[in-house]
Symmetry: C2
Amino acid sequence: MEAAIKEIRQAIGDDDAISTDPEDLKAHGYSEWSSTNIDGLPVAVAYPKSTMEVSKIAKICCKYRVPIIPFSGGSSLEGNFSAPYGGISVDFAYMDKILQFNPGDMDIVVQPSVSWMELNEELARRESGLFFPPDPGPTAKIGGMVGTNCSGTNAVRYGTMKDWVINLTVVLADGTIVKTKRRPRKSSAGYNLNSLFVGSEGTLGLVTEITLKLAVVPQEFSVAVVTFPSIRDAASAAAGVMRAGIQVAAMEIMDEVQMKVVNLSGLTSPRKWKEKPTLFFKFSGTKASVKENISMVSAIAKMHKGGDFEFAKDAKEQKLLWSARKESLWSMLALRKEGGEVWSTDVAVPFSRLADIIEVSKKEMDELGLFASILGHIGDGNFHESIMYDRTVEGEREKVERCVKNMVKRALDMEGTCTGEHGIGIGKKEALFMEVGPDTLGVMESIKSALDPHWIMNPGKIIDVPS
Amino acid sequence: MEAAIKEIRQAIGDDDAISTDPEDLKAHGYSEWSSTNIDGLPVAVAYPKSTMEVSKIAKICCKYRVPIIPFSGGSSLEGNFSAPYGGISVDFAYMDKILQFNPGDMDIVVQPSVSWMELNEELARRESGLFFPPDPGPTAKIGGMVGTNCSGTNAVRYGTMKDWVINLTVVLADGTIVKTKRRPRKSSAGYNLNSLFVGSEGTLGLVTEITLKLAVVPQEFSVAVVTFPSIRDAASAAAGVMRAGIQVAAMEIMDEVQMKVVNLSGLTSPRKWKEKPTLFFKFSGTKASVKENISMVSAIAKMHKGGDFEFAKDAKEQKLLWSARKESLWSMLALRKEGGEVWSTDVAVPFSRLADIIEVSKKEMDELGLFASILGHIGDGNFHESIMYDRTVEGEREKVERCVKNMVKRALDMEGTCTGEHGIGIGKKEALFMEVGPDTLGVMESIKSALDPHWIMNPGKIIDVPS
């Protein structure tokens, strides 16, 4: 390991290229956001400045059989960048540039540490009329977003990360640099390596350049908020909107607890929200289509006992209405007391089952006396549960863990998935095994072994390292 | 090989389960549509009735190292189902059922030989208000559509085959049956095996069940046709529509030759078309949005010298206007004389380059005296070239082949792909190598070897069998 570090330092010819500072190691192996943390840390953190340097690092790590763990935003939730086998965390902090912008083709080439929010700000600054739709947590960066195949509130309209990748430059386990494709928006040429690397959490290679599709910024936006007597009514209304084929830009659900959390946090003050199950809608398109969509959604909401359909009158009010949704995780984190932790997780089910799983899961948590809130990308059948607990109280974490496991099991029983957008990391390996079974996991393992025969790429994530 | 055939007959317990009839072999190894045909034929054709029977066939073929080639619609164009190494063609003719329909979740589970057109007819018959968007050639079936990651005119609005697959049941090379996922519309759980199998042309496994997403049938449709003085003007108008973010349901280009072909064929008679570069638009959505989209597109077309913006007044006229596009390949085939063949191929480029590549490719064909037409999914940067030639005239096929190769090379030079929706098969292996290079092809080869160590699954397609 020390030999590898020394060699990397020499190869890159820069003393700052690799750090063994304890603070640095902790920041790259532990996360207060993540539901899963482990005791170990990486042994060093490398800071490459180019694909070529990443390749050099990989070659050296391959030679010494040292694990490599990619790191960009560090906002993943399932221990996706933890270092159970030590090794070197490769932080893309210095690879944060836009390399090429092709407005005529509506695409852009970026490095892994470009933040999706800054990317959108830059696209607005350039008056391109284009934007990048996937909108996960605000601190996420493109590299990690590729890793977990993340999405966010825009997914119901625009799809998930895999739908926005045109090509990837990837450094393989032995340091070979490959490019998955050239730059067509559509292709049937050979195996779809884009979609294989997207969501593989750095276990098959290190993504160093990403060509992203961009979308045209719609002419008009509107935001509306509607409350319902029960989660089931809200879910039925949402299903009605989907089945009517109304193109909402986003459709989010928040339960009464989450609404209360937002009020308590004061983050959207002076606005106070009704503490009821609530649907948040975003509309976008042309003026006429937005108007029409709103009136259709409003009619459907009424049919399902929706009340107080509130619209934003202008951009400022839009921001205010949407802020309750955007601030939800922060609101929860802000309420933590000393020793408090928030376990945040996600599952997805066929959307006719969403009300069922939410109802049962809420009931279980209530009975166990846990403070938990639910919010979800309801049009995708995907929701998040955030459970607050005190790590200093014996048995409390175990109680939460059991609840999460039960919810995952429930999702699988309803033909769903253990994660809609957070990924497997370390935290959901067992759940993945339950979800797909040994033979399908065996296919994943064969692919992993074929591309990374020494299991040095983010080992212990998604699949257990064979003993 | 004979032992394998005998054993399959015994295992399935049905004499009709496997055929060695010469007519049958020819129908499964040769295609008059395909640009690429070879001399060899499969040695037998198996007709399984269930996933379990497919698994039995695969186990026996694995034991005897006999190649397996999947077959459904037989409409692929690059020799995708040819049998260069002999072996057994597995025809899914008897696996043509809808297994489960989940209207509440907007999905449906089907077997490989369900035709996409019949699927849509059935969905209409059940008054589900749902449809399946990908629309390749009318004879295509879902199994083959998965194999080639096909698309069609709806792709600009709805994406390609990979975007509509929720899960797959796959029989692996050794007969193991796996299911890629359960039934969530969105998932980040492990490697994206859906997208790996979609487009793998049966080289990684035999797909026996497919769960497809469905979309809501829009309220309103409209169709319009506009002519332009040049392909470049038409392409500029199309780019303008894309950059304005107007959501067309389809946007197709046909050159003056293709319009002439349609007129000559008489297939849309009594309607006669202007023999000029033409854009075909399909609009769909709510009443207001369709109206609005039409007026925006009409304004953009005018800015690019578009004339004679013709609308369909009703459903019948819509069908008539759209028919010129739908009948284009048939029109071309209908014009063949004795000995005549049509070479139909596709490439895709970043869409700002579409006019360039079409102009140069047309010029080359004109200079060589070839009769060729162009039509394309212009919003995806994807177009088809259909070249007529006489196989009995010496050197004519070679001339066509050279033209196609040059067009592919041009597409790659413009950062495009050698195929947007037809796949690689046998015909474009060299092109794929040029497109991605040896290292990326090496990644594909590793995956192939990992999942099919004896190279018995549709060998010789996409990647050469290692010698």
